[in-house]
């Protein structure tokens, strides 16, 4: 069997029934031991009240580390556990489990974070050791007061909601629906498909995006286990993991989805003979009518009326030939917003990204020079179903002879976004290939660093190089139409430093493509609040753990998939969507979730009936018995914040694992000894 390092049992084991605390100090390799004097902490811990055993081990989270705890508990040596190691957000669950395996309540456990809060942030070794001792003392003092608690469970509803119908949401929905779960897929646009539906081809295989995406879109619509709600958004979320109540708003399309067959006769019949309104789906390059369908394979294939542009909505005077043209009588100009509530066990957020607004970098002339395009616009130009049927035609007409692609627009830039958007190098290479193929133009790529990690990606880069695409390494200073030579006359000039030849170059081109970066959705903060999750400083949703829980969030039952969590390409997005679906399936099939133990409760005898707590509870979890003049907490609804407890004037409201007595003891503990 394993021989623990430096086991200290200097304290006599206290009498039966009293707390006998085991303190386990983790080295975490050298992460803690390199800064904190572990032996000194162990010796100190063994002198603290009620400590029966103090030990240290290289990695407490490893199996042998956990076995130390289990064995001491089973041997009756200890009945409470303190682990001084990393953050409780990292391994509290691990050690609670080990404590439970030792045959007692998992809540007879407290963690002292001497890595994140001590060894990693402290310069001086003695200071670190002293702080570690103080935190251990706080944990020891409080754990002595922990009460016996059983983990609480709640059942999980089998239905699932997915927010966002891009490739992430689609893939997750199909995976779960195939497993027999009912999925509500909510998309705010009038069609699913997301960004991927706008692309012509995908890197590095150059297979057509529509060919791989549209069958999945149709499968979503046809699947008996999927309820697809487009033109809809989530307005409120209530409840908790396993039992959420989600309120969804359906926006009016003025066309009944159950009747419209997508024949598009109404569009032809519209009194607007010419399509004049910039089409959102085509990035404004194509035009649409007030009644439209974003693209031919839109799913569901249902037209939408734009009340901002429709003459009937603007003037009330229109013969409305659309109604006449419709053989199915699908028009309903009286439609209004409707709301619907569904109950689901889990939620996957797949709300995607937006691209960087190129107008924020005026030096590149976007919006000033017509022949400066964003990459997404060029995706539409290249798309066979796009505004130019796949021809690369400039805004002023004609085909470009020389094209410059500027990488990292808005990315890796202290003035805009610090992060690398991850997909731009590869899609720029793809665009270089496609533009060259379609127009025969000379293509220059201006890059800072070429980033092509991924299966087949470097090979793709190599292929593009062999095709004769020019690579200029250096950040582009600007785009101008001021000619400095005859050759530059009437063209755009890209001024860039070429760091490989060590000089500044001026390259005249006919078309500039800005490889705009990936950003959080503009309403990511609202969505975050709605679902009670968090965002990082850059605004992408924060995963529970960057490595070990990449699709979970800090709110149980809410999961992430795709680029809402950070820049991702399609394979990664699909992999993540599959992972999120698997997490949800595991949760739903288990049928039960463990609930937060730290709920509030009221000491009936001490309650004076003042009702302070009742009004403070944000979740309406506290009821009041008017006859007895006593408050009581509904522990299923209680989320365990302790707001009522902090406010109760008579100390009647208390919180499991955070009672006043436990916190007072912890305060004493962190102050009294060191």
């Amino acid at each position: 069997m394993l021989e623990p390092e430096g086991g200290l049992t200097s304290q006599p084991i206290s009498t039966n029934g009293g707390p006998r605390i085991g303190v386990y100090v983790c080295h975490c390799g050298l992460n803690i031991a390199g800064k904190v004097d572990i032996q000194a902490v162990v010796e100190f811990a063994s002198t603290l009240p009620n400590v029966a055993v103090a030990r240290d081990y290289k990695f407490m989270c490893s199996d042998p580390g956990q076995e130390l705890i289990e064995r001491d508990l089973r041997d009756g040596l200890v009945n409470r556990v303190v682990v001084a190691s990393c953050s409780p957000l990292m391994h509290e669950a691990t050690f609670r489990k080990a404590t439970a395996k030792g045959g007692t309540s998992p809540f007879y456990f407290q963690m002292a974070s001497i890595r994140e809060h001590v060894s990693w942030v402290t310069v001086d070794n003695d200071d670190a050791t002293a702080k570690a001792k103080a935190l251990v003392a706080g944990a020891v003092r409080r754990v002595a007061l922990h009460e016996y608690l059983e983990p609480r469970q709640a059942s999980v509803r089998p239905d699932v909601m997915i927010v966002g119908g891009g490739i992430a949401g689609i893939h997750a929905a199909l995976t779960m629906a195939d497993a027999g779960k009912h999925v509500y897929l909510v998309e705010r646009e009038s069609t699913i498909g997301g960004h991927m539906a706008k692309f012509d081809k995908t890197f590095p295989t150059l297979d057509c995006a529509a060919c791989i995406l549209t069958p999945k879109m149709s499968a979503v619509r046809a699947h008996p286990n999927i309820t697809l709600w487009t033109y809809a958004d989530v307005v409120s979320v209530e409840g908790f993991t396993g039992d959420f109540t989600v309120r969804v708003r359906h926006r009016p399309r003025y066309v009944r989805e159950d009747l419209c067959t997508g024949c598009l006769a109404c569009i032809d019949a519209c009194v607007h003979k010419q399509a004049k309104i910039p089409a959102e789906f085509d990035e404004g390059l194509g035009k649409r009518k007030p009644i439209y369908i974003p693209f031919p394979q839109a799913t569901p294939p249902v037209v939408v009326v734009d009340p901002e542009a429709c003459i009937w909505f603007k003037t009330g005077k229109c013969p409305r030939p659309c109604i006449e043209a419709c053989e199915r009588d699908a028009f309903d100009f009286e439609q209004t917003e409707t709301f619907e509530e569904v109950k689901v066990g889990a939620i996957i957020l797949a709300t995607g990204f937006k691209t960087f607004d190129a107008a924020k970098m005026p030096e590149y002339g976007y919006g000033v020079y017509p022949n400066v395009y964003t990459s997404l616009e060029v995706e539409r130009l290249l798309n066979a179903a796009g505004p130019t049927s796949g021809e690369v035609v400039l805004r002023g007409g004609g085909k470009p002879k020389v094209v410059g692609i500027i990488h990292c627009v808005g990315s890796r830039d202290a003035k805009h976004n610090l992060w690398c958007s991850k997909v731009c190098c590869m899609y720029s290479l793809k665009l270089a290939h496609m533009v060259k193929e379609r127009t025969g133009a000379e293509v220059y790529n201006f890059y800072i660093d070429m980033r092509t990690p991924g299966k087949g990606y470097e090979e793709f880069y190599d292929k593009i190089l062999k095709e004769g695409v020019h690579m200029v390494r250096g950040r582009v200073a600007g785009v101008t139409d001021e000619a400095a030579s005859l050759e530059e006359e009437g063209r755009l000039v890209i001024r860039a430093e070429d760091t490989l030849i060590g000089s500044v170059r001026r390259i005249p081109v006919d078309m500039v493509i800005l490889a705009v970066g990936v950003e959080p959705q503009p309403d990511a903060q609202d969505v975050r609040r709605l679902f009670n999750i968090s965002c990082g400083g850059e605004g992408f949703f924060t995963e529970r753990h960057p490595k070990l829980a990449p699709v979970s969030t800090f709110t149980d039952g809410v999961f992430l998939a795709g680029a809402c969590q950070g820049p991702k390409d399609i394979p990664e997005t699909v992999a993540q969507a599959g992972a999120a679906a698997a997490e949800v399936l595991a949760m739903v099939d288990r049928g039960a979730v463990v609930l937060e133990a730290s709920t509030a409760f009221i000491d009936d005898a001490a309650c004076s009936g003042c009702k302070t707590c009742v009004g403070l509870c944000p979740f309406g979890a506290i009821g009041f018995d008017d006859e007895r003049k006593k408050a009581s907490v509904n522990e299923v609804v209680c989320k365990g914040c302790g707001i009522c407890v902090g406010a109760c004037p008579s100390g009647a409201a208390q919180q499991h694992l955070f009672t006043d007595a436990e916190i007072f003891s912890e305060i004493e503990g962190v102050l009294e000894y060191v």
Partner: protein, 163 residues
């Protein structure tokens, strides 16, 4: 509570950090290896709204030279509005501490989101500096009242304070 006269004064600060934002931010400071003053000892609560004013008074009377409360930014509370409750209590408590002659710098409330590891570093360093300049609070030398305790010493203290 021995004080070694040969050592320069090092303040002890007790921090109450909410689980979702500030405690996570402190973890992020750790993961990012941001070095800061070792004087702050954090106690994790689920929400800054759980901070009972008595916790602050207890910390100050047990030997803390300052107390830091960290919660989510307004509008970001994991429990909707616990941080607003924390702020209200903080304002009242500060008035009371002021009446007791305790300097404002010794009680601080900060909104620190989960992504602001650098703010944990900055606030802990700043507060440590400020309190180092103020010197020890010395409330800890006051004998504590207890039911079975030292009534005479408490009476003596009352006399000292009132004379």
């Amino acid at each position: 509570m021995s004080e070694d006269a040969s050592k320069p004064f090092e303040p002890k600060i007790v921090a109450f950090f909410c689980n979702w934002c500030t405690y996570t931010a402190a973890d992020l400071a750790g993961i990012s290896r941001m070095q800061y003053a070792p004087n702050v000892r954090a106690i994790r609560l689920m929400c800054s709204g759980r901070v009972d004013p008595q916790f602050v008074l207890a910390a100050l009377s047990e030997g803390a030279d300052g107390v830091l409360i960290g919660g989510c930014h307004p509008g970001d509370c994991h429990y909707q509005e616990g941080n607003h409750n924390a702020r209200r209590r903080f304002e009242l408590l500060r008035l009371m501490l002021r009446d007791m002659g305790i300097e404002d710098e010794r009680l601080r409330l900060e909104w620190i989101s989960a992504s602001e590891g650098d703010k944990v570093q900055k606030v802990c360093n700043e507060m440590t500096e400020q309190i180092r300049a103020l010197g020890p609070l010395r409330l800890a030398t006051v004998p504590r009242w207890s039911a079975d305790g030292d009534h005479d010493r408490a009476a003596e203290l009352v006399k000292q304070v009132t004379s």
